[in-house]
Symmetry: C2
Subunit: 501 residues, 2 copies
C-alpha cells in the first residue's frame, strides 16, 4: 500500500539507506506494508529524560555564546530519518512539529540527498549570485518550471519575487504594496523634488504615512516592519518600536463549528465591520491610510485560529472596494500541509489576492503577485542576493516528490483521518481537550489550560513524540507531508495514554 | 610565486579543473608564475556587446515574471572560474565587483566545491533545522571553531547570533539593542501589565519610541527598520514609510587627504557635534531617545566614504557617554577585503563596539555582540531558522583558505599596489578621475561627473572588466580575496586606455 503511495521513496530507498540509515534495521518487505516509511523505525523510543545528559551538556556550551532559552534538545541529523528526529542522547522521536513546520519531506529524504550529490547542483551552491544583477543562465527557466509551474503558483499570480525567509518576504511584499499604492495616488506623475529629498531623511511626503492592516493574534515575522503586523505574544514585541498601524479583530469561533453557525457568522460580521471602521479611521482621522491588509489563512503561531471562506471572501471585497491590496501570508500554510498547495485555495475567492508570501516548506522565501504590482523602477525591491538558487534546487525536488507521491492527496486523507480520531478523543476527554480544528494535517486542538497544554507537550516528549504548542492553550500538528495514518496512530496512542493518566 | 601565495589552489587544482574548467586551456607550469590563478584565462575576452544576444533574450523572458531593470547580464556559473565571470554569450570578464562584494574566493573555488562534494555536508544541507529550538549536535562546536575562533571574531565580542542576510542581521541587532536599552531603563523591574498589553497593539509604553541614529549616505539594508537607517539613494526609500529616527552628517573629506588634514579634522568635529546635538534633540524635544548608533566603517553603497580612526574613536566615546550602543555594520567591509578581518580593526577603538553585523563574504548573516547585550529572555530575538548551517559550512572553508593562503596579507599587498597605481593614474588624468581612496582592495575613485562614471563602467565592460559604481560619481573595486597584482594590471590597462580615449 505504501509502495503505491510513495513510489519514489521505495525506488530510492537503497540510496537513502546507504547514507543515513545506520541505526535502524529495516527490510524491503516491511516497506511494502502500511507501516513506517523506508528506513524509519517502527515506533519512537525514549532512552533518557528530554533533554538528556548530552543535550544538557551541549546546551551549557551554547549558552556561553548566545541566549538559548528556546532550545529543547540537540539533534543528530545524520541519524534522523523520515518522520523521526533522533537526538544526541539516542532518543528517537516521532516529529509532528518538523522544525516549526519547515521540513516538507522529513529528515534525509533520498530525493533531497540525491539532488545535493549532483555535482551540477554543487556548482550552484558554490556560486551564489546577486540574482538581481547577474542571474545564472537557468534562472528564468527555473522560475518558470518550479515556482511558476501550473499547480504550484497560485492561479492568476504570474509574477514572482524571490527572497530568503518569511520575515523578509513579508517586508518586501509590504514595500511592493506601498509602491503600488503610491503610484496609484500619483496618477502617472513623476516623483517630485520634495518627495525625493524628504525620503532621504525619513520624512513625508517622500516617506509617506501609509499603513498595513493586520489582525489580533497574527504572526507575520519579527523584523521591524513585519513585527508591526505581528500580535500573537507580547514577548515577541515588548521593548521594540513599532509603526502605528491598524489592527482588526480576527474571528474567534465557538467549537464545534456545526453547533455554532449563527454565532460564528455574527463573529465574522463583527470583525469585518471593524476592518471597515479601521480603514476609515486611519484614512480620515489618523491620516495613515491603509495600503494593504495582511492575513494568514489560518493564524498559526497565534493558536491555529481559523476563519470561514465567507470571511475571506468578504474581506477581499472590502479591500477591493477601498483600493487596498490583500496579502495572504502562506509562510506556514503554504506548500501542501492543508491538502492544497496554498491554503487560500480552500476559500473560493472572487479573484486572486494581490500578493501571496511563502517560505518554510518552500525552502526559499518570496512572494507571488499580480502583474499590476510589478514595481515600475529597478532597485526599489532589491537586495544583494534576492533569494538563493541553492534553495530553489531543493524546492524543485520537493515539488517533484509532492507530485509523484501524491502528497497533497496524502495530506488530505491523513488529515481527515487524524481530525476524525481527535474529535472522537475530544468527546472522550472533553474536560481536557476541545476545539479540534484543521485542514489537511494542519491540525490543532485546545487544552483546558495553558498549564495542561505544557504538561501534555512535555509528556508527549517522554512518550517519544516531538510536538509543539501555539497560542496560549493549543497543541499544533505540523508533520511532514509524508506523515501517514500509521504515524497518526502512534501519536494518538501516546496522547490517549496521557489524557487517561 | 603564486604557488607560495596560494598553496591550496595549486593543491586542489586538478579537482577544480575536473568539474569546471572546460573552456580554458591552462597548464600547471603557467600556474607557477605570477599570472592567472589555476584554471583562469590569461585575460578577459569579449565576443559580443554586453549584454549579448543570449543575455538579451533571457532578459526578455525574465521580464515577463519580474522587474528586471537592474539585471546587467546572465552568467554561466559552471564556466566562470576564479576572478573571471563568464556570461551566456561567451564573454569572459575580469570581475572586480564579485556579486556586490559577496564572493570571497571567486568562482568555483575548489575548496568550496570540495566541501559541497562531502556527503556529510550534504546531510547538513538536506536537514535545515530550526536552530533556536533543535540545533544539531555540532552546532556549539561549529560556532566556536568557525565564527568565534580567535582571529575571526572581533576581539572582545564573545556572543554570536546567526541570521540569513545583511538586512535581517541589522534588524535583529536593532532589536537586541532596544531590549538592552529598555532593560537598563527598567533597572531590573519586571514588565508591567501596561507594557505587555500596549505592545500587542503597537502602542507605547510596550512599543517604546526609541530610535537608532544613522548617517547621511549610509546603507544598512532595505527592510523597514534597516531602511529607516539607509540614506544612500532616494530610489531605495521613496514611497516607503520610515521611522522618524535621527540622521547625522557623515564626514565628507577633501582629497588628497595629506593635503587637507586640517579641513578634514574640522569636518570630523562638525559631524560629531551634530551627533551630540541630535542625541539631545531626540531625547528632550522629540522624546524618541537614541538607543543605538549604526555606522559603516566605510560607507560603501553611498560612495565609499571614509572617516578617520579619530572620528570613530570619538564617536564611540560619545555613545558610551550617553549609554548608547555602537553598532558597526561590517556587512560589506567584513571578511577580509580591507586587509583585516574587520575594517573597524583599523581604528584602534578604546574598547570593542557593542555590536558588529556581517553577511556577504561571510556567507551566513548575523552579529557579534558584547555579553551584556545578551537578551534576558528567550524568543525575543528569534525566528524559524536563525541562520543556516549550510552557509556556515561554506564559511568554514572560506576561513580555512583565507588563513592557509594568507589572503588578508594578500588583500593588503594587492590593495597597496592598486591604490598606488590608481593615484598615479589620477595624477595623469586629473580632469577625469580623483579622490582615490581605500583600505586593502576595498578601493574606489571618483569621476568628474555621473555621466563619465557611467560611461567608464560601460566601456570597462566592453574591455572585459565587470566593475560596479557606488554613490553618484564613484567606481568601486570589490574583487575576491584571491585578486592579485596580475589582475590589477589588467584592470588598470583597461582603465588607462579608456581615460586616454
Amino acid at each position: 500500500m505504501l509502495f503505491k503511495r510513495f513510489p519514489s521513496l521505495l525506488r530510492n530507498q537503497s540510496f537513502g539507506r546507504r547514507i543515513v540509515c545506520t541505526v535502524f534495521e529495516t527490510t524491503p518487505e516491511r516497506c511494502l506494508t502500511s507501516g513506517p516509511l523506508p528506513g524509519e523505525p517502527n515506533k519512537p523510543s525514549v532512552l533518557t529524560e528530554i533533554p538528556g545528559p548530552t543535550s544538557t551538556r551541549l546546551l551549557k556550551e551554547l549558552s556561553d555564546v548566545q541566549q538559548t532559552g528556546s532550545v529543547q534538545l540537540f539533534a543528530d541529523y545524520a541519524k534522523s530519518i523520515g518522520n523521526y528526529l533522533v537526538d544526541v542522547d539516542g532518543n528517537t522521536l516521532l516529529d509532528v512539529y518538523m522544525q516549526i513546520s519547515s521540513m516538507p519531506l522529513g529528515y534525509n529524504h533520498p530525493a533531497m540527498l540525491g539532488a545535493l550529490a549532483d555535482p551540477a547542483n554543487q556548482i550552484i551552491l558554490a556560486n551564489r549570485p546577486a540574482l538581481g544583477v547577474f542571474p545564472g543562465k537557468d534562472w528564468p527557466n527555473k522560475l518558470r518550471d518550479v515556482l511558476l509551474k501550473k499547480g504550484v503558483a497560485p492561479a492568476g499570480l504570474t509574477q514572482i519575487t524571490t527572497m530568503m525567509c518569511g520575515s523578509c518576504s513579508n517586508e518586501n511584499a509590504f514595500k511592493n504594496i506601498f509602491l503600488w499604492y503610491a503610484a496609484k495616488k500619483r496618477h502617472g506623475a513623476p516623483f517630485t523634488k520634495e518627495e525625493m529629498e524628504s525620503c532621504m531623511i525619513n520624512q513625508s511626503p517622500g516617506s509617506p504615512r501609509y499603513s498595513i492592516m493586520s489582525f489580533k493574534g497574527a504572526f507575520h515575522g519579527r523584523t521591524l516592519g513585519s513585527l508591526s503586523t505581528t500580535h500573537s505574544k507580547y514577548i515577541h514585541k515588548i521593548d521594540v518600536p513599532a509603526f502605528d498601524w491598524p489592527i482588526a479583530s480576527f474571528p474567534e469561533y465557538k467549537y464545534p463549528l456545526e453547533q455554532n453557525t449563527r454565532e460564528n457568522q455574527q463573529e465574522d460580521q463583527r470583525c469585518l465591520a471593524e476592518v471597515e471602521d479601521l480603514i476609515a479611521k486611519y484614512d480620515t482621522q489618523k491620516k495613515i491610510p491603509v495600503a494593504g491588509i495582511i492575513i494568514e489563512p489560518i493564524q498559526s503561531e497565534g493558536g491555529d485560529n481559523h476563519a470561514s471562506p465567507e470571511f475571506f471572501q468578504q474581506l477581499q471585497r472590502i479591500a477591493k472596494k477601498h483600493g487596498i491590496a490583500l496579502l495572504i501570508d502562506e509562510v506556514q500554510t503554504g506548500g501542501g500541509p492543508t491538502g492544497k498547495m496554498w491554503c487560500h485555495e480552500h476559500f473560493n475567492l472572487d479573484s486572486p489576492p494581490e500578493v501571496v508570501t511563502f517560505s518554510k516548506k518552500m525552502q526559499i522565501g518570496g512572494y507571488y503577485h499580480l502583474p499590476e504590482l510589478k514595481p515600475k523602477q529597478a532597485y526599489q525591491v532589491f537586495n544583494t542576493w534576492m533569494g538563493d538558487p541553492g534553495k530553489l534546487l531543493l524546492l524543485e525536488v520537493v515539488l517533484d516528490v509532492i507530485k509523484r507521491d501524491n502528497l497533497l492527496e496524502n495530506a488530505s486523507r491523513v488529515g481527515d483521518y487524524t481530525l476524525k480520531q481527535l474529535i472522537s478523543m475530544e468527546n472522550e476527554f472533553s474536560n481536557q481537550i476541545s476545539a479540534t480544528r484543521g485542514r489537511g494535517t494542519f491540525i490543532a486542538f485546545s487544552c483546558s489550560s495553558a498549564k495542561l497544554r505544557d504538561e501534555i507537550v512535555k509528556k508527549l516528549h517522554s512518550k517519544g513524540i516531538q510536538a509543539g504548542g501555539c497560542g496560549s492553550v493549543s497543541i499544533r500538528l505540523r508533520p511532514a507531508l509524508t506523515f501517514t495514518e500509521y504515524h497518526t496512530d502512534i501519536f494518538l496512542d501516546a496522547l490517549r495514554s496521557i489524557l487517561k493518566g
